[in-house]
Symmetry: C2
Subunit: 148 residues, 2 copies
């Protein structure tokens, strides 16, 4: 049974990321930039250094994404202190970026709803309790890894 579970988990992951990829393409955004867009939507503004820290990616990779998002009109930068390097400048969504970010968010939410179509509240609760137990097991493994 475990073997079948892993195969189906992998297949579902693949289907999900493929769909997400296509949907983001329709919104005219690269899927790798969605986390930045979502963070800016939540926080209003941020710096490149802060974005890199919160998304657990390198500053170079954030800088590249911001450059692309700026070119595509999603974000704009403001420099409080001109003596500081550009990585300290604030990044914020442009008006059109804000509207498109909301569209991206609604696309994600629609996909998430469709994924669990037909599930009753009770079934969702059971599924959630499984996820909690998997989470417990994974955290236990994590502790073991760290003490090795």
């Amino acid at each position: 049974m475990l073997d079948r579970i892993f195969k189906l988990e992998r297949y579902n992951d693949l289907l999900e990321s493929h769909q997400r990829f296509l949907e983001f393409e329709t919104c005219g955004i690269h899927y790798k930039q969605v986390p930045i867009i979502n963070l800016l939507l939540r926080k209003g503004e941020s710096t490149q250094a802060e974005l890199a820290r919160q998304l657990h990616v390198s500053r170079a990779s954030v800088a590249k994404s911001i450059q692309r998002l700026e070119k595509d009109g999603y974000v704009c930068r403001t420099q409080d202190d001109p003596s500081k390097s550009s990585r300290y400048s604030k990044v914020t969504l442009s008006v059109s970026g804000y509207e498109r970010a909301l569209a991206v968010k609604s696309v994600v939410e629609k996909g998430e709803l469709a994924k669990f179509e037909g599930f009753s509240d009770e079934e969702l609760s059971i599924y959630y309790s499984f996820l909690e137990r998997i989470n417990y097991n994974l955290l236990k493994c994590d502790e073991l890894c760290k003490t090795k």
Copy 2:
């Protein structure tokens, strides 16, 4: 409830890939090269073009991985026809690569077992049936995406 499910799904995914990453590092292999190792373990030998096709990645990316795996002593190449380009040469695991590939495989399997520790057979069946229904929903979305 759906919101909590998505958060926990994402958190579990993150934990799982982080653990896999650390475990592969212990085996001295980059996680990106694991699919190639696994495929060679199953098939015995392959060409770069074949590997690229089966793993749905570019030939350039396979070429880079094979170069690294060859340098690390995991794989060796044989050239049947010297008049042909190197991308037609056969790639196979070396003896030491084969042993290390088995170690990688057992690490993955151990992690998979630990993930479902404490689950009864009946609970695994229920979890599997949830995955089947999610799969059905995702495939339905996929069809919708294609007809758009």
